[in-house]
Amino acid sequence: MLLQMKNISKLYKNGVLANDSVSFDLNEGEILAIVGENGAGKTTIMKILYGLEHPTGGEIFINGKTCAFKNPQDAMAHGIGMVQQNFMLLPTFSIAENVVFGSEPRCFRLFFDRKKAVKEVIELGERYGLKADPNLLIKNCAVGLQQRCEILKVLYQNANIIIFDEPSAVLTPQEVDGLLNTIRSLAKMGKSIILITHKLNEVMAVADRCVVMRGGRLIDTVKTSDTYIQELSAKMVGRKLIDKSIPEVEKGAVVLSVEHLSQKGKDGIQALRDCSINVHAREIVGIAGVSGNGQTELLHAITGLSKDISGGKITLDGQNLIGLTVRQIREAGCAYVPEDRNTMGAALQSNLTETTLMARQYETEYSKNGVINYMKANQQFDALLNRYDVKYSSLNQRAGELSGGNLQKLIVAREISRNAKLLIVAEPTRGVDIGAMEFIHNQIIEQRSAGAAILLISSDLNEILKLSDRIYVMYEGVINGELLRAKANSEDIGILMTGGELRDNAS
């Protein structure tokens, strides 16, 4: 037994018990998957193993010896490496320079022997079957190649235990296959792998054993050969998804129409290729897909945040949107809950009134002749925020002081209360507690009954399945399939998300 985590607990100062006495072990050459939903505690326990966090209880044993890691360098010295979701790569430097970063080969002690670095990276690549051109600059590499560089970096540090944190989240489906092959061959060469993921098909494809976590606790440890996906997902979720069937509503006329939209992304790769969707009034249309397949570009094209569209048409109630400014598009009847509330949804240093006022400062309700009526705004926002169950102490509070869930509710309140014809919600419940999640979902459903056309983009498939009347699946910049609520299920969507085709019925 190479690694043993025994009764690991992590209690944060704010009272959250992220890990509750979790124990598991890892053998040499084994691939262990750790699965669980958001907030199950899997990232926390890996942070503990990698020295980014310290446990409040329990012990770690490596080869039978107790270890306590003060920081990642400590963990690395013990042969533990981690490929994180956010790559720690330097974009303006080459693959070779990045792989050896921190342990550079030197000449005369002071100088960076770059030639030797290139040689070593080539050698490393050949040894592990991870070919990569050592002279390519990271910023010119596709995401899959960048991840390969991270893996090489970890191998360069002589890691024996390699942790992958949600590695396929940023990859295209072909790149995911490459990754799984890499993981298999690394294990065959004697490395031990821990794979953190919520993608059960990957677990079944590659892992030897699987640890299921839920609510900070270890639920079960099974051999993947002894189980199947539905069993694992049931353990992950803990209960049958109570599908509160949302009321059937007759959909109205087409509100948003996107036809054959194409857009060149960075590095010349097409971000959107002939993408076409439409959304009717009184309808919730969900877009499913692995993030990075063009969803963000599609949203930014519709809302006017990005300008370089190379072809196609976008109309809102017949009015062309391409070429209009962000403000004009909003005034045409578009509201948008952005995917990142902290960078785009709010200015954390401003107060709640100012945050809620954004994009409404020209409405005659709140301003006249360029002067803002803050008293009225405060009155109205007070009522609005209370209606949306936002917990705050004063409107003068800074937006950054609200909890994630409350800030998200504020943003949802702000955008929904515009009663726009088209409501776009991206990742509406990311990082939000269960209570707030339910509330936001109900608000979205209400807006639908009130006649809005709603476009929902989410990486949470359950959310999409729960709310959508129709589901589009995006893959590599194009719509790969369309499913109606009645026929939608996660297996089919999963197939479409990974570039496949449905065999029995055409979309």
């Binding site: 990642p72 360098q73 956010n86 720690m88 790569l89 320079e97 970063f101 921190g102 100088f111 960076f112």
Partner: protein
């Protein structure tokens, strides 16, 4: 216009370049580490003053130069502490320190020498001008290279050393990594805080050097606020030179040339206009040679 005159102007340009180039190098090392240091002007001015003061009291050229350089480092330490370590807003710290040093040196000018405005005295030792053995007999080249002090020559050596440091050593690689993506650096155990503070202090030493060149290079005197915006011209040169020491040499020479031109043309064109030439040249050069949007540096 005779050829020798042209070389004389070039000579004057090269001599004017030294302070600007040192400020530009100081700016570049801060930028590379991800620190926006606006206090270059103050770091330079204190060097100018300290050199003259130490010159007066110790009659030692060597000590004057060393103390001038170190004084720049001392002021930079204040910046390092307040701006990098305690994360105060960069514009505020930089501007306040520039104003503070301006006031401080003017006061000390009065306190130590009893004069206001400017201090000049034959008893002050001047930096020896270097004349190279063989070269000084070649007709035009001798004009080009005459009257350089050791500081002028050293400044190019410093630029080359910085180039080698940044692009060929491991330490320099780590410094650049801190500026490019500090979380990546931290993840490998590299302390962005140490590198940033170090970069700021080095920029202080470099600006101090530039300040010494200013007050003891071509002339030996101190005037209140004698840096006259050179710290910022240095920032512009650094900008033009894309934070690359070798390109900074070229960019700095350009500004030095504008400075020299201003002095030369004073006979034909009113001095008020010629004195504005370096500043106009800075703005024009930045417009003409604009590059892609440079990443805004933050010490986050």
């Amino acid at each position: 216009m005779e050829t020798n005159f042209i070389f004389a102007v070039l000579n004057s340009a090269i001599r004017s370049t030294t302070p600007i180039m040192m400020a530009a190098l100081g700016s570049s090392i801060c930028n590379r580490a991800g620190v926006f240091n606006v206090a270059l002007e103050g770091q330079m001015l204190i060097g100018s003053f300290t050199a003259i003061a130490v010159n007066w009291f110790t009659h030692s050229i060597f000590l004057s130069v060393i103390c001038g350089i170190l004084s720049g480092g001392v002021v930079a330490s204040l910046v390092a502490l307040l701006q990098v370590k305690y994360k105060a807003a960069d514009m505020v710290i930089g501007t306040s320190i520039n104003l503070l040093v301006g006031a401080f040196t003017a006061i000390m000018l009065y306190v130590l020498f009893g004069v206001k405005g400017s201090f000049k005295n034959p008893a002050l030792l001047t930096l020896p001008k270097i004349s190279l053995p063989v070269i000084s007999s070649i007709p035009y080249i001798s004009t080009l290279l005459r009257n350089f002090t050791i500081l002028d020559y050293l400044s190019y050596v410093v630029a080359v050393i910085m180039f080698i440091y940044l692009f060929h050593t491991v330490h320099g690689y780590h410094l650049i990594s801190v500026g490019v993506k500090s979380e990546a650096a931290e993840s490998m155990g590299i302390s962005s805080l140490s590198y940033r503070m170090g970069a700021v202090i080095v920029s202080g030493l470099l600006c101090g050097f530039g300040g010494v060149a200013l007050s003891m290079g071509q002339v030996t005197l101190f005037t209140e606020n004698m840096t006259a915006g050179r710290g910022f011209i240095g920032m512009a040169a650094c900008n033009l030179g894309r934070n690359n020491p070798v390109m900074i040499i070229v960019a700095s020479l350009f500004f030095g040339f504008c400075d020299a031109f201003a002095t030369v043309a004073q006979n034909r064109i009113p001095s008020q206009i010629t004195m504005s030439v370096p500043y106009i040249a800075t703005v024009v050069a930045l417009i003409v040679f604009h590059g892609e949007r440079a990443k805004k540096v933050k010490a986050a």
